[in-house]
Amino acid sequence: MTPTGTTEKEIVLEAKDLGYNYRKNDPILKSVSLAVERGDFFGIIGTNGSGKTTLLKLLTGIYAPTSGEVRLFGEDPRHSKKRSKVGYVSQRATTFDRSFPATVLEVVLMGRVAQAGLLRRLTNRDRAKALTALKEVELGHLANRKIGELSTGQQQRVVIARALAGDPELIIFDEPTVGVDVNAEASFFALLKRLNTEKNITIVVVTHDMDIIGHQVNKLMCLHCSISTHGTPKQFFEGEALHMATRGDIKLIPHHEDRGHHDHGHDH
Protein backbone atom coordinates (compact mmCIF):
# COMPACT_ATOMS: atom_id res chain seq x y z
CA MET A 1 0.00 0.00 0.00
CA THR A 2 1.12 3.51 -0.76
CA PRO A 3 1.62 5.56 2.37
CA THR A 4 -1.00 8.22 2.70
CA GLY A 5 -0.78 11.63 4.27
CA THR A 6 -1.64 11.98 7.91
CA THR A 7 -4.36 14.54 7.44
CA GLU A 8 -5.91 13.63 4.13
CA LYS A 9 -6.48 10.27 2.55
CA GLU A 10 -5.40 9.68 -1.01
CA ILE A 11 -8.14 9.94 -3.58
CA VAL A 12 -8.02 6.85 -5.77
CA LEU A 13 -10.93 7.58 -8.07
CA GLU A 14 -12.38 10.95 -8.82
CA ALA A 15 -14.97 12.37 -11.18
CA LYS A 16 -15.25 16.09 -11.70
CA ASP A 17 -18.40 17.51 -13.20
CA LEU A 18 -18.77 14.51 -15.46
CA GLY A 19 -21.20 14.52 -18.35
CA TYR A 20 -21.97 12.09 -21.12
CA ASN A 21 -24.41 11.95 -23.99
CA TYR A 22 -24.85 9.25 -26.58
CA ARG A 23 -26.83 11.68 -28.74
CA LYS A 24 -26.47 15.42 -29.01
CA ASN A 25 -28.33 17.41 -26.36
CA ASP A 26 -29.63 14.26 -24.72
CA PRO A 27 -27.35 13.73 -21.75
CA ILE A 28 -27.61 10.52 -19.81
CA LEU A 29 -25.24 11.93 -17.19
CA LYS A 30 -24.89 15.55 -16.16
CA SER A 31 -22.38 17.09 -13.76
CA VAL A 32 -21.59 14.00 -11.72
CA SER A 33 -18.83 14.50 -9.19
CA LEU A 34 -17.47 11.99 -6.76
CA ALA A 35 -14.29 11.25 -4.88
CA VAL A 36 -13.41 7.78 -3.65
CA GLU A 37 -10.68 7.77 -1.02
CA ARG A 38 -8.34 4.91 -0.30
CA GLY A 39 -10.07 2.43 1.99
CA ASP A 40 -13.57 3.58 1.14
CA PHE A 41 -16.48 1.24 0.67
CA PHE A 42 -18.30 3.43 -1.78
CA GLY A 43 -21.82 2.77 -2.97
CA ILE A 44 -23.34 4.26 -6.10
CA ILE A 45 -27.03 3.72 -6.25
CA GLY A 46 -29.40 4.42 -9.08
CA THR A 47 -32.46 3.00 -10.76
CA ASN A 48 -32.42 1.33 -14.14
CA GLY A 49 -31.72 3.85 -16.85
CA SER A 50 -30.11 6.29 -14.45
CA GLY A 51 -26.80 5.99 -16.25
CA LYS A 52 -25.04 3.61 -13.85
CA THR A 53 -23.48 1.54 -16.57
CA THR A 54 -22.40 4.64 -18.48
CA LEU A 55 -20.84 6.07 -15.33
CA LEU A 56 -18.90 2.84 -14.81
CA LYS A 57 -17.63 2.94 -18.37
CA LEU A 58 -16.47 6.50 -17.85
CA LEU A 59 -14.81 5.70 -14.52
CA THR A 60 -12.93 2.76 -16.01
CA GLY A 61 -11.89 4.67 -19.12
CA ILE A 62 -13.89 2.61 -21.61
CA TYR A 63 -15.77 5.75 -22.68
CA ALA A 64 -14.42 9.26 -22.95
CA PRO A 65 -16.56 11.81 -21.10
CA THR A 66 -18.42 14.45 -23.12
CA SER A 67 -17.59 16.96 -20.40
CA GLY A 68 -15.68 16.95 -17.14
CA GLU A 69 -12.92 14.53 -16.27
CA VAL A 70 -12.08 11.30 -14.49
CA ARG A 71 -8.92 10.69 -12.48
CA LEU A 72 -7.94 7.16 -11.62
CA PHE A 73 -4.99 7.15 -9.23
CA GLY A 74 -4.51 10.72 -10.38
CA GLU A 75 -4.37 9.87 -14.09
CA ASP A 76 -6.75 9.86 -17.02
CA PRO A 77 -7.91 6.23 -17.01
CA ARG A 78 -8.04 6.08 -20.80
CA HIS A 79 -4.28 6.36 -21.03
CA SER A 80 -3.27 5.04 -17.64
CA LYS A 81 -1.17 1.95 -17.06
CA LYS A 82 -2.63 1.85 -13.56
CA ARG A 83 -5.86 0.37 -14.89
CA SER A 84 -4.33 -3.01 -14.23
CA LYS A 85 -4.53 -2.07 -10.52
CA VAL A 86 -8.31 -2.05 -10.82
CA GLY A 87 -10.25 -5.24 -10.38
CA TYR A 88 -13.54 -5.28 -12.21
CA VAL A 89 -16.46 -7.53 -11.42
CA SER A 90 -19.03 -7.10 -14.15
CA GLN A 91 -22.56 -8.41 -14.26
CA ARG A 92 -21.14 -10.96 -16.64
CA ALA A 93 -19.72 -12.60 -13.54
CA THR A 94 -22.98 -14.40 -13.06
CA THR A 95 -24.61 -14.20 -16.45
CA PHE A 96 -22.08 -15.82 -18.78
CA ASP A 97 -22.76 -18.84 -20.95
CA ARG A 98 -22.75 -21.89 -18.69
CA SER A 99 -21.12 -24.04 -21.32
CA PHE A 100 -18.11 -21.72 -21.64
CA PRO A 101 -15.17 -24.12 -21.63
CA ALA A 102 -12.98 -22.85 -18.82
CA THR A 103 -11.88 -24.23 -15.50
CA VAL A 104 -12.19 -22.17 -12.33
CA LEU A 105 -8.43 -21.67 -12.28
CA GLU A 106 -8.43 -20.52 -15.91
CA VAL A 107 -11.01 -17.87 -15.05
CA VAL A 108 -9.00 -16.66 -12.04
CA LEU A 109 -5.86 -16.54 -14.19
CA MET A 110 -7.59 -13.99 -16.42
CA GLY A 111 -7.05 -11.61 -13.52
CA ARG A 112 -3.31 -11.85 -14.17
CA VAL A 113 -3.54 -10.95 -17.86
CA ALA A 114 -3.43 -7.18 -17.47
CA GLN A 115 -0.60 -7.45 -14.92
CA ALA A 116 1.49 -9.71 -17.10
CA GLY A 117 1.26 -7.35 -20.07
CA LEU A 118 1.05 -7.98 -23.79
CA LEU A 119 3.18 -10.67 -25.43
CA ARG A 120 4.09 -12.20 -22.08
CA ARG A 121 3.07 -15.67 -21.11
CA LEU A 122 1.47 -16.37 -17.77
CA THR A 123 4.03 -18.04 -15.51
CA ASN A 124 3.97 -20.34 -12.50
CA ARG A 125 4.06 -17.24 -10.34
CA ASP A 126 0.79 -16.08 -11.93
CA ARG A 127 -0.61 -19.52 -11.33
CA ALA A 128 0.41 -19.37 -7.65
CA LYS A 129 -1.17 -15.91 -7.30
CA ALA A 130 -4.37 -17.20 -8.85
CA LEU A 131 -4.49 -20.15 -6.47
CA THR A 132 -3.87 -17.90 -3.46
CA ALA A 133 -6.71 -15.61 -4.60
CA LEU A 134 -8.97 -18.61 -5.00
CA LYS A 135 -8.17 -19.75 -1.45
CA GLU A 136 -8.94 -16.23 -0.26
CA VAL A 137 -12.54 -16.70 -1.36
CA GLU A 138 -12.52 -20.23 0.09
CA LEU A 139 -12.81 -22.02 -3.23
CA GLY A 140 -9.29 -23.45 -3.53
CA HIS A 141 -10.66 -26.97 -3.71
CA LEU A 142 -12.64 -26.19 -6.88
CA ALA A 143 -9.68 -24.97 -8.98
CA ASN A 144 -10.01 -27.66 -11.64
CA ARG A 145 -13.77 -27.76 -11.89
CA LYS A 146 -15.60 -26.31 -14.87
CA ILE A 147 -16.80 -22.79 -14.11
CA GLY A 148 -20.29 -23.55 -15.42
CA GLU A 149 -20.76 -26.36 -12.87
CA LEU A 150 -20.57 -24.00 -9.90
CA SER A 151 -23.49 -22.28 -8.21
CA THR A 152 -24.09 -18.63 -9.00
CA GLY A 153 -22.78 -17.59 -5.60
CA GLN A 154 -19.60 -19.61 -6.14
CA GLN A 155 -19.16 -18.21 -9.63
CA GLN A 156 -19.33 -14.75 -8.20
CA ARG A 157 -16.62 -15.62 -5.70
CA VAL A 158 -14.50 -16.95 -8.54
CA VAL A 159 -14.82 -13.64 -10.33
CA ILE A 160 -13.85 -11.82 -7.14
CA ALA A 161 -10.85 -14.13 -6.93
CA ARG A 162 -10.08 -13.14 -10.51
CA ALA A 163 -10.09 -9.49 -9.43
CA LEU A 164 -7.93 -10.32 -6.38
CA ALA A 165 -5.40 -12.23 -8.46
CA GLY A 166 -4.35 -8.95 -10.07
CA ASP A 167 -3.31 -7.43 -6.71
CA PRO A 168 -5.92 -4.68 -7.01
CA GLU A 169 -5.96 -1.50 -4.98
CA LEU A 170 -9.52 -0.87 -6.08
CA ILE A 171 -12.30 -3.26 -7.05
CA ILE A 172 -15.37 -2.04 -8.92
CA PHE A 173 -18.58 -4.07 -8.84
CA ASP A 174 -21.38 -3.63 -11.35
CA GLU A 175 -24.72 -4.87 -9.96
CA PRO A 176 -23.08 -7.72 -8.11
CA THR A 177 -26.23 -9.16 -6.59
CA VAL A 178 -28.18 -9.74 -9.79
CA GLY A 179 -29.11 -13.40 -9.98
CA VAL A 180 -27.58 -14.30 -6.63
CA ASP A 181 -29.80 -15.80 -3.93
CA VAL A 182 -30.25 -14.14 -0.55
CA ASN A 183 -27.93 -16.40 1.44
CA ALA A 184 -25.12 -16.08 -1.07
CA GLU A 185 -25.72 -12.34 -1.09
CA ALA A 186 -25.11 -12.04 2.65
CA SER A 187 -21.85 -13.96 2.55
CA PHE A 188 -20.86 -12.06 -0.56
CA PHE A 189 -21.14 -8.73 1.23
CA ALA A 190 -19.36 -10.18 4.26
CA LEU A 191 -16.50 -11.10 1.94
CA LEU A 192 -16.41 -7.59 0.51
CA LYS A 193 -16.32 -6.12 4.01
CA ARG A 194 -13.40 -8.40 4.87
CA LEU A 195 -11.45 -7.43 1.76
CA ASN A 196 -12.15 -3.79 2.55
CA THR A 197 -11.11 -3.85 6.19
CA GLU A 198 -8.43 -6.56 6.29
CA LYS A 199 -6.76 -6.07 2.92
CA ASN A 200 -7.51 -2.37 2.74
CA ILE A 201 -8.87 -2.69 -0.79
CA THR A 202 -11.00 0.24 -1.85
CA ILE A 203 -14.39 -0.93 -3.04
CA VAL A 204 -16.93 0.72 -5.32
CA VAL A 205 -20.28 -0.97 -5.74
CA VAL A 206 -22.85 0.18 -8.27
CA THR A 207 -26.33 -1.17 -7.73
CA HIS A 208 -30.04 -0.46 -7.70
CA ASP A 209 -30.38 -2.46 -4.50
CA MET A 210 -30.54 0.11 -1.70
CA ASP A 211 -31.39 -2.47 0.91
CA ILE A 212 -28.17 -4.40 0.50
CA ILE A 213 -25.83 -1.53 0.17
CA GLY A 214 -27.24 0.49 3.06
CA HIS A 215 -25.56 -1.37 5.88
CA GLN A 216 -22.25 -1.95 4.19
CA VAL A 217 -20.94 1.21 2.63
CA ASN A 218 -19.31 4.16 4.33
CA LYS A 219 -20.20 6.51 1.50
CA LEU A 220 -23.20 6.47 -0.73
CA MET A 221 -23.86 8.38 -3.88
CA CYS A 222 -27.24 8.65 -5.46
CA LEU A 223 -27.50 8.86 -9.22
CA HIS A 224 -30.58 10.66 -10.53
CA CYS A 225 -32.23 10.10 -7.19
CA SER A 226 -35.09 12.14 -6.06
CA ILE A 227 -35.47 11.81 -2.32
CA SER A 228 -38.85 12.62 -0.91
CA THR A 229 -38.93 13.68 2.71
CA HIS A 230 -40.55 16.02 5.16
CA GLY A 231 -38.65 19.15 6.03
CA THR A 232 -35.63 20.78 4.53
CA PRO A 233 -32.75 18.89 2.92
CA LYS A 234 -30.58 20.00 5.81
CA GLN A 235 -32.90 18.34 8.26
CA PHE A 236 -32.96 15.28 6.09
CA PHE A 237 -29.23 14.86 6.03
CA GLU A 238 -28.96 15.35 9.74
CA GLY A 239 -32.08 13.51 10.71
CA GLU A 240 -33.50 10.11 11.42
CA ALA A 241 -34.84 9.41 7.94
CA LEU A 242 -31.43 8.98 6.44
CA HIS A 243 -30.28 6.92 9.36
CA MET A 244 -33.27 4.67 8.95
CA ALA A 245 -32.85 4.41 5.23
CA THR A 246 -29.23 3.43 5.46
CA ARG A 247 -29.07 1.80 8.87
CA GLY A 248 -25.72 3.12 9.76
CA ASP A 249 -23.15 5.77 9.98
CA ILE A 250 -22.69 6.67 6.38
CA LYS A 251 -22.15 9.78 4.44
CA LEU A 252 -24.67 10.51 1.74
CA ILE A 253 -23.46 12.41 -1.26
CA PRO A 254 -26.38 13.75 -3.24
CA HIS A 255 -25.92 14.01 -6.96
CA HIS A 256 -27.11 17.54 -7.71
CA GLU A 257 -28.96 18.12 -10.90
CA ASP A 258 -32.14 19.65 -12.21
CA ARG A 259 -33.98 16.60 -11.09
CA GLY A 260 -31.97 16.41 -7.86
CA HIS A 261 -33.40 15.93 -4.41
CA HIS A 262 -36.42 17.94 -3.50
CA ASP A 263 -38.51 17.99 -0.39
CA HIS A 264 -42.20 17.32 -0.51
CA GLY A 265 -44.84 14.73 0.11
CA HIS A 266 -44.59 11.56 2.07
CA ASP A 267 -41.80 10.14 4.14
CA HIS A 268 -38.98 8.21 2.50
Partner: protein
Protein backbone atom coordinates in the same frame (compact mmCIF):
# COMPACT_ATOMS: atom_id res chain seq x y z
CA UNK B 1 3.03 -42.56 -59.92
CA UNK B 2 4.48 -39.32 -58.67
CA UNK B 3 1.54 -37.34 -59.93
CA UNK B 4 -0.97 -39.57 -58.15
CA UNK B 5 0.86 -39.24 -54.86
CA UNK B 6 1.05 -35.52 -55.33
CA UNK B 7 -2.62 -35.37 -56.19
CA UNK B 8 -3.35 -36.89 -52.82
CA UNK B 9 -0.59 -35.32 -50.75
CA UNK B 10 -0.93 -31.72 -51.80
CA UNK B 11 -4.62 -31.28 -51.00
CA UNK B 12 -4.22 -33.41 -47.89
CA UNK B 13 -1.42 -31.25 -46.48
CA UNK B 14 -3.34 -28.10 -47.36
CA UNK B 15 -6.49 -29.51 -45.81
CA UNK B 16 -4.80 -30.59 -42.61
CA UNK B 17 -3.21 -27.17 -42.18
CA UNK B 18 -6.66 -25.63 -42.40
CA UNK B 19 -7.94 -28.30 -40.04
CA UNK B 20 -5.55 -26.99 -37.38
CA UNK B 21 -6.11 -23.27 -37.93
CA UNK B 22 -9.88 -23.10 -38.43
CA UNK B 23 -11.00 -24.47 -35.04
CA UNK B 24 -8.31 -22.46 -33.25
CA UNK B 25 -9.98 -19.34 -34.60
CA UNK B 26 -13.36 -20.92 -34.01
CA UNK B 27 -12.70 -21.25 -30.26
CA UNK B 28 -12.83 -17.48 -30.07
CA UNK B 29 -15.48 -16.66 -32.68
CA UNK B 30 -17.90 -19.30 -31.41
CA UNK B 31 -17.48 -18.31 -27.77
CA UNK B 32 -18.03 -14.68 -28.67
CA UNK B 33 -21.33 -15.77 -30.25
CA UNK B 34 -19.97 -14.77 -33.58
CA UNK B 35 -19.96 -18.20 -35.13
CA UNK B 36 -21.22 -17.08 -38.52
CA UNK B 37 -18.36 -14.67 -39.13
CA UNK B 38 -16.24 -17.17 -41.06
CA UNK B 39 -19.14 -18.11 -43.30
CA UNK B 40 -19.98 -14.50 -44.00
CA UNK B 41 -16.41 -13.62 -44.85
CA UNK B 42 -16.16 -16.67 -47.08
CA UNK B 43 -19.05 -15.38 -49.17
CA UNK B 44 -17.31 -12.06 -49.58
CA UNK B 45 -14.34 -13.94 -51.00
CA UNK B 46 -16.54 -14.69 -54.03
CA UNK B 47 -16.50 -10.99 -54.77
CA UNK B 48 -12.73 -10.98 -54.44
CA UNK B 49 -12.44 -13.85 -56.90
CA UNK B 50 -14.65 -12.10 -59.44
CA UNK B 51 -12.72 -8.85 -59.08
CA UNK B 52 -9.52 -10.83 -59.52
CA UNK B 53 -10.79 -12.36 -62.77
CA UNK B 54 -11.94 -9.00 -64.07
CA UNK B 55 -8.69 -7.25 -63.26
CA UNK B 56 -6.67 -10.16 -64.50
CA UNK B 57 -3.49 -8.99 -62.82
CA UNK B 58 -2.42 -11.09 -59.81
CA UNK B 59 -5.97 -12.49 -59.49
CA UNK B 60 -5.04 -14.59 -56.44
CA UNK B 61 -4.40 -11.58 -54.26
CA UNK B 62 -7.84 -9.94 -54.60
CA UNK B 63 -9.83 -12.47 -52.56
CA UNK B 64 -7.50 -11.79 -49.62
CA UNK B 65 -7.73 -8.03 -49.98
CA UNK B 66 -11.51 -8.01 -50.27
CA UNK B 67 -11.98 -10.41 -47.36
CA UNK B 68 -9.69 -8.41 -45.06
CA UNK B 69 -11.36 -5.11 -46.00
CA UNK B 70 -14.78 -6.65 -45.36
CA UNK B 71 -13.58 -7.96 -41.99
CA UNK B 72 -12.33 -4.52 -40.98
CA UNK B 73 -15.57 -2.89 -42.11
CA UNK B 74 -17.84 -5.30 -40.29
CA UNK B 75 -15.81 -5.09 -37.08
CA UNK B 76 -15.86 -1.32 -37.28
CA UNK B 77 -19.65 -1.27 -37.73
CA UNK B 78 -20.00 -3.56 -34.76
CA UNK B 79 -17.66 -1.55 -32.57
CA UNK B 80 -19.41 1.75 -33.18
CA UNK B 81 -22.70 -0.08 -32.68
CA UNK B 82 -24.19 1.13 -35.93
CA UNK B 83 -25.28 -2.38 -36.74
CA UNK B 84 -25.69 -5.29 -34.32
CA UNK B 85 -23.07 -8.01 -34.87
CA UNK B 86 -25.48 -10.62 -36.17
CA UNK B 87 -27.10 -8.28 -38.68
CA UNK B 88 -23.71 -7.00 -39.79
CA UNK B 89 -22.80 -10.57 -40.72
CA UNK B 90 -26.05 -11.15 -42.58
CA UNK B 91 -25.51 -7.97 -44.56
CA UNK B 92 -21.92 -8.91 -45.28
CA UNK B 93 -22.88 -12.36 -46.52
CA UNK B 94 -25.68 -11.27 -48.80
CA UNK B 95 -23.89 -8.12 -49.91
CA UNK B 96 -20.83 -10.13 -50.89
CA UNK B 97 -22.81 -12.59 -52.99
CA UNK B 98 -24.93 -9.84 -54.57
CA UNK B 99 -21.91 -7.79 -55.59
CA UNK B 100 -20.10 -10.88 -56.87
CA UNK B 101 -22.97 -12.14 -59.03
CA UNK B 102 -23.78 -8.68 -60.39
CA UNK B 103 -20.19 -8.00 -61.28
CA UNK B 104 -19.75 -11.51 -62.71
CA UNK B 105 -22.80 -11.22 -64.97
CA UNK B 106 -21.72 -7.79 -66.22
CA UNK B 107 -18.20 -8.89 -67.07
CA UNK B 108 -19.30 -12.38 -68.14
CA UNK B 109 -17.09 -14.05 -65.54
CA UNK B 110 -18.13 -17.55 -64.60
CA UNK B 111 -18.41 -18.48 -60.93
CA UNK B 112 -17.82 -22.19 -61.08
CA UNK B 113 -18.75 -24.93 -58.71
CA UNK B 114 -15.16 -25.57 -57.62
CA UNK B 115 -15.22 -22.26 -55.87
CA UNK B 116 -18.39 -23.09 -54.00
CA UNK B 117 -17.58 -26.63 -52.92
CA UNK B 118 -13.83 -26.95 -53.30
CA UNK B 119 -11.83 -28.91 -55.86
CA UNK B 120 -8.94 -31.03 -54.66
CA UNK B 121 -7.47 -31.74 -58.09
CA UNK B 122 -7.06 -28.01 -58.61
CA UNK B 123 -5.08 -27.40 -55.41
CA UNK B 124 -1.64 -26.47 -56.74
CA UNK B 125 1.66 -26.59 -54.88
CA UNK B 126 1.54 -22.80 -54.75
CA UNK B 127 -1.89 -22.96 -53.07
CA UNK B 128 -0.58 -25.44 -50.54
CA UNK B 129 2.39 -23.21 -49.73
CA UNK B 130 0.10 -20.20 -49.42
CA UNK B 131 -2.14 -22.10 -47.00
CA UNK B 132 0.85 -23.27 -44.94
CA UNK B 133 2.28 -19.76 -44.80
CA UNK B 134 -0.97 -18.05 -43.84
CA UNK B 135 -1.84 -20.83 -41.43
CA UNK B 136 1.47 -20.49 -39.62
CA UNK B 137 1.15 -16.70 -39.42
CA UNK B 138 -2.39 -16.94 -38.09
CA UNK B 139 -1.52 -19.49 -35.42
CA UNK B 140 1.47 -17.42 -34.30
CA UNK B 141 -0.77 -14.34 -34.04
CA UNK B 142 -3.35 -16.20 -31.99
CA UNK B 143 -0.71 -17.66 -29.67
CA UNK B 144 0.87 -14.23 -29.10
CA UNK B 145 -2.44 -12.78 -27.92
CA UNK B 146 -3.90 -15.97 -26.53
CA UNK B 147 -4.48 -14.82 -22.96
CA UNK B 148 -6.05 -11.56 -24.06
CA UNK B 149 -8.29 -13.42 -26.53
CA UNK B 150 -9.41 -15.83 -23.81
CA UNK B 151 -10.09 -13.04 -21.31
CA UNK B 152 -12.04 -10.87 -23.74
CA UNK B 153 -14.03 -13.86 -25.00
CA UNK B 154 -15.14 -14.63 -21.46
CA UNK B 155 -15.69 -11.11 -20.15
CA UNK B 156 -14.87 -8.33 -22.57
CA UNK B 157 -16.21 -5.67 -20.22
CA UNK B 158 -13.75 -6.55 -17.47
CA UNK B 159 -10.95 -6.87 -20.01
CA UNK B 160 -11.70 -3.38 -21.31
CA UNK B 161 -11.97 -1.97 -17.79
CA UNK B 162 -8.51 -3.30 -17.04
CA UNK B 163 -7.13 -1.49 -20.03
CA UNK B 164 -6.58 -4.42 -22.39
CA UNK B 165 -6.65 -3.42 -26.08
CA UNK B 166 -9.89 -5.29 -26.71
CA UNK B 167 -10.73 -3.35 -29.88
CA UNK B 168 -7.41 -4.19 -31.46
CA UNK B 169 -7.71 -7.81 -30.36
CA UNK B 170 -11.17 -8.08 -31.93
CA UNK B 171 -9.90 -6.55 -35.13
CA UNK B 172 -6.96 -8.94 -35.20
CA UNK B 173 -9.31 -11.89 -34.78
CA UNK B 174 -11.46 -10.70 -37.68
CA UNK B 175 -8.47 -10.22 -39.95
CA UNK B 176 -6.95 -13.62 -39.26
CA UNK B 177 -10.38 -15.16 -39.79
CA UNK B 178 -10.63 -13.45 -43.18
CA UNK B 179 -7.17 -14.68 -44.20
CA UNK B 180 -7.89 -18.23 -43.07
CA UNK B 181 -11.23 -18.64 -44.82
CA UNK B 182 -9.83 -17.20 -48.02
CA UNK B 183 -6.97 -19.68 -47.95
CA UNK B 184 -9.32 -22.54 -47.08
CA UNK B 185 -11.68 -21.94 -49.98
CA UNK B 186 -9.37 -23.72 -52.44
CA UNK B 187 -9.92 -26.92 -50.51
CA UNK B 188 -13.41 -26.87 -49.01
CA UNK B 189 -15.15 -24.12 -50.98
CA UNK B 190 -17.03 -20.96 -50.10
CA UNK B 191 -20.17 -22.59 -48.76
CA UNK B 192 -18.55 -24.90 -46.25
CA UNK B 193 -15.39 -23.20 -44.99
CA UNK B 194 -17.15 -21.73 -41.99
CA UNK B 195 -18.21 -25.17 -40.79
CA UNK B 196 -14.64 -26.02 -39.79
CA UNK B 197 -14.53 -23.08 -37.40
CA UNK B 198 -17.76 -24.12 -35.72
CA UNK B 199 -18.51 -27.86 -35.72
CA UNK B 200 -15.24 -29.19 -34.22
CA UNK B 201 -15.43 -26.50 -31.51
CA UNK B 202 -19.00 -27.43 -30.65
CA UNK B 203 -17.97 -31.10 -30.57
CA UNK B 204 -15.08 -30.36 -28.22
CA UNK B 205 -17.26 -28.24 -25.93
CA UNK B 206 -19.47 -31.31 -25.43
CA UNK B 207 -16.49 -32.94 -23.72
CA UNK B 208 -16.80 -30.45 -20.87
CA UNK B 209 -13.16 -29.51 -20.37
CA UNK B 210 -11.18 -26.35 -19.68
CA UNK B 211 -10.23 -23.88 -22.38
CA UNK B 212 -6.85 -25.24 -23.42
CA UNK B 213 -8.03 -28.83 -23.40
CA UNK B 214 -11.13 -27.92 -25.37
CA UNK B 215 -9.03 -26.11 -27.97
CA UNK B 216 -6.76 -29.13 -28.23
CA UNK B 217 -9.70 -31.53 -28.66
CA UNK B 218 -11.29 -29.22 -31.23
CA UNK B 219 -8.12 -29.34 -33.31
CA UNK B 220 -7.89 -33.13 -33.01
CA UNK B 221 -11.54 -33.57 -34.03
CA UNK B 222 -11.04 -31.18 -36.92
CA UNK B 223 -7.91 -32.98 -38.15
CA UNK B 224 -9.72 -36.32 -38.05
CA UNK B 225 -12.74 -34.88 -39.87
CA UNK B 226 -10.66 -33.24 -42.59
CA UNK B 227 -8.38 -36.26 -43.00
CA UNK B 228 -11.28 -38.69 -43.26
CA UNK B 229 -13.35 -36.35 -45.41
CA UNK B 230 -10.59 -35.66 -47.92
CA UNK B 231 -9.59 -39.30 -48.25
CA UNK B 232 -13.23 -40.15 -48.80
CA UNK B 233 -13.55 -37.40 -51.39
CA UNK B 234 -10.40 -38.53 -53.19
CA UNK B 235 -11.24 -42.22 -53.27
CA UNK B 236 -14.97 -41.97 -53.96
CA UNK B 237 -14.71 -38.81 -56.04
CA UNK B 238 -17.02 -36.82 -53.76
CA UNK B 239 -17.26 -33.09 -53.27
CA UNK B 240 -14.46 -32.38 -50.76
CA UNK B 241 -16.28 -29.63 -48.85
CA UNK B 242 -19.30 -31.82 -48.38
CA UNK B 243 -17.31 -34.90 -47.36
CA UNK B 244 -15.25 -32.95 -44.82
CA UNK B 245 -18.25 -31.29 -43.21
CA UNK B 246 -20.21 -34.54 -43.11
CA UNK B 247 -17.24 -36.17 -41.34
CA UNK B 248 -17.22 -33.29 -38.85
CA UNK B 249 -20.90 -33.81 -38.19
CA UNK B 250 -20.30 -37.54 -37.78
CA UNK B 251 -17.76 -36.72 -35.05
CA UNK B 252 -20.18 -34.32 -33.40
CA UNK B 253 -23.04 -36.79 -33.23
CA UNK B 254 -20.71 -39.60 -32.16
CA UNK B 255 -19.54 -37.48 -29.20
CA UNK B 256 -23.03 -36.40 -28.25
CA UNK B 257 -24.23 -40.00 -28.54
CA UNK B 258 -21.40 -41.48 -26.48
CA UNK B 259 -21.89 -38.86 -23.77
CA UNK B 260 -25.60 -39.62 -23.64
CA UNK B 261 -24.89 -43.33 -23.26
CA UNK B 262 -22.25 -42.71 -20.58
CA UNK B 263 -24.56 -40.45 -18.62
CA UNK B 264 -27.48 -42.85 -18.77
Amino acid sequence: MDTTINQILIPLIAGLAIAVVAPTIGMFTVLRRYALVADSLAHVVLLGVVIGSVVGFLPGIFPYIVAVLAAILVEYLREIRRVPGESALAMLLTGGVAAATTLASYFKVEINEDLLFGALEKVAVSDMLMILGIGTAVVVCLLLFWKELVYSSFDDEAARAQGLPVRAINMLLMIVTALTVTAAIRVVGVLLTGALTVIPVMSAIQLNQGFRTTAFYAICISVVSVGAGLLLALTANLSPGGAVVMSAFACFFAIVGVRKVLKA
